[in-house]
């Protein structure tokens, strides 16, 4: 049995369904990310685990015991809020000591633990500061330290990095990963940012309309999105229409042998939907076994490490391609170019 078991959890706010029978099992010590667009139910699920949202039906089991009706103050889960929710009237040390005082630890034990936690989250020199005297990243560390101080069974994090700038976010991602490894606490992390999810998680649960539509490791989800929604939500994937008779594939008006990933019973035949990652399409150079097709360049935009080139295929489909700057620089909108694609890079979506 899993450590935390969520069974057919339902929650509606009036006519809006926030959770539509969610099932999720989390193992002890796992880092699970709930990923989805806003309003998809991920925060409602997190707040249900925390105990602040009462589900309409369904159960939450912790180590086999039903905790669905237990008050948040009795669950012993750490919770890190969006915006941190530090106590503004207490110093850093007293914020971290708060859960320990509530639990009536003796003074020496509290002092020792506060010291230990502040070292853990890298705040040892700021004990006397008030939250308003700290930067966003430091406040974040206090919030995490406070939530970990009392040794919670699970740490719940509600989009904690969304208010930080990009560089700080990268640092905090590594910090969270380190804290997860050092403490061994089970982390449940909510975000709408796929890169954040990929960087830290053992498993990602993708939410859509109050349901988990796919759950798996970051690589699984990236390589094999289960539905059109997942393929589209996970950033920049090309979702394309194709034709097949079951033996050969017609894509961009080019006929090619059917890739091995195709399964007639799951993916159907006739008009089907496929996806291709932008980085799997090559502009110009042709690898052995690749299929070539000519396109019209619509737009070239610089995205940092490479260029994102938007092209129109012969059958009028828009295609996003990531290309090295050296190649993309040669292209001007309106010109024609040749793209190459390995048939094995084509993914198929199940019939819906």
């Amino acid at each position: 049995m899993a450590f935390l078991d969520i069974r057919t959890l339902r929650k509606a706010y009036g006519s809006a369904i926030a959770l539509d029978g969610v099932d999720l099992s989390i193992n002890e010590g796992e880092f699970v990310t709930l990923l989805g667009p806003s309003g998809s139910g991920k925060t409602t699920l997190l707040m249900s685990i925390a105990g602040f949202t009462r589900p309409d039906s369904g159960t939450i089991l912790l180590d086999g015991a039903d905790i669905t009706g237990v008050d948040p103050e009795d669950r012993n889960f750490g919770l890190v809020f969006q915006g941190y929710a530090l106590f503004p009237h207490l110093s850093v040390a007293n914020n971290i000591a708060f859960p320990l005082r509530v639990r009536k630890w003796d003074k020496a034990r509290i002092a020792a633990r506060v010291d230990e936690v502040m070292k853990l989250v890298g705040l040892d020199k700021l004990a006397a500061r008030k939250p308003r005297e700290l930067s966003g990243g430091q406040q974040q560390r206090v919030a995490i330290g406070r939530a970990l101080a009392f040794g919670p069974k699970i740490l719940l994090l509600d989009e904690p990095l969304s208010a930080l700038d990009r560089k700080l976010r990268d640092t905090m991602q590594r910090e969270l990963k380190r804290l997860h490894q050092e403490t061994g606490v089970t982390f449940v992390f909510v975000t709408h940012d796929q890169e954040e999810a990929y960087a830290m998680s053992d498993r990602i649960a993708v939410f859509q309309n109050g349901n988990i539509v796919q759950i798996g490791s970051p690589r699984e989800i990236y390589r094999a999105p289960a539905s059109r929604f997942v393929a589209g939500f996970l950033g920049g994937n090309n979702i394309l229409s194709a034709q097949t008779d079951g033996a050969q594939l017609d894509l961009f008006g080019i006929r090619m042998p059917m890739p091995a990933a195709y399964d007639r019973t799951r993916h159907g035949d006739g008009a089907i939907t496929v996806w291709v990652r932008p980085e799997d399409i090559a502009l110009g150079d042709v690898a052995p076994g690749a299929v070539c097709f000519s396109v019209k360049v619509a737009d070239v935009s610089f995205v940092g490490t490479s260029e994102r080139v938007t092209v129109i295929t012969a059958d009028g489909q828009e295609l996003s391609v990531l290309a090295p700057s050296a190649i993309a620089r040669e292209l001007t909108p309106g010109s024609t170019a040749t793209c190459a694609l390995l048939p094995s890079a084509i993914g198929f979506l199940a019939r819906e």
Partner: protein, 279 residues
Amino acid sequence: MSSFQRWAFGLTVPAALLTICLYVVPILQVLALSFTEPTFGLGNYVEMFGSAAIGRVVRTTMIVSAVTTVLTIVMSYAVAFALVHMRPAARRVALFMVMVPFWVSVLVRAFAWITILRRNGVLNSALVGSGAIAEPLELVYNQFGVIVGMVHYMMPFAILLLYANLSEIDPRIIQAARSLGARPVTIFTRVWLPLSLPGLAIASLFIVIFSLGFLVTPAILGAGRVLMVAEYISVQISSTLRWGVATALSTTLLLVVGLLVAVAARSPALRAAFEGGRR
């Protein structure tokens, strides 16, 4: 200063001039009377500090003001706390009821309390009629009646001041305290109370200052038997025509209030209240 700022500043000049000419100057003139009436010197102040009658008035004023402030703050805090926890629809109704007294003249409210509290009034009749008491209670024309009337007058102000403070407290901070294992009593004493200190400080200051100079309600509900400073001054000015003593007392009252504000403004809690969002 930009030209817009100059214009904006210029627009405040008429109101400032009006206030200075028609309010500040006359007040200073009246206060100056305390040194010149009937003869030049500090005679009025010597008389004031020596007078047993004025001593009693000051003591009454301090007791009534203190009790009024404590009762007003405690009860208003309870109401404001409840307001913060209400659903929006219920809160709109409750806030409306808090504001209703603002539309009723203070005179009408004082006389309404008399009809309720006097010997054969609504409350005594009900209590005697139900057999709870044999003799009617003395509920008005004494300190009790004055305090009831004053607390009733002050509560809406205190409720609104405290509500403004409490509703600024981020509900996620309270949730955070719960997630950290704190129970309701702990959350109240360790989180709500410290975070509402600025509101409590400013509401208390407001009520104390208001109470010290309160005239109408003590005059009507005290009926001359509970003499507070403002009524004493009014009697000296309009009936006994001892303007010198009256203005000396007014000057002292003004100084005391000024001192209270100055001291309070130095306290961290009140500074936080004045600084507001900058916390």
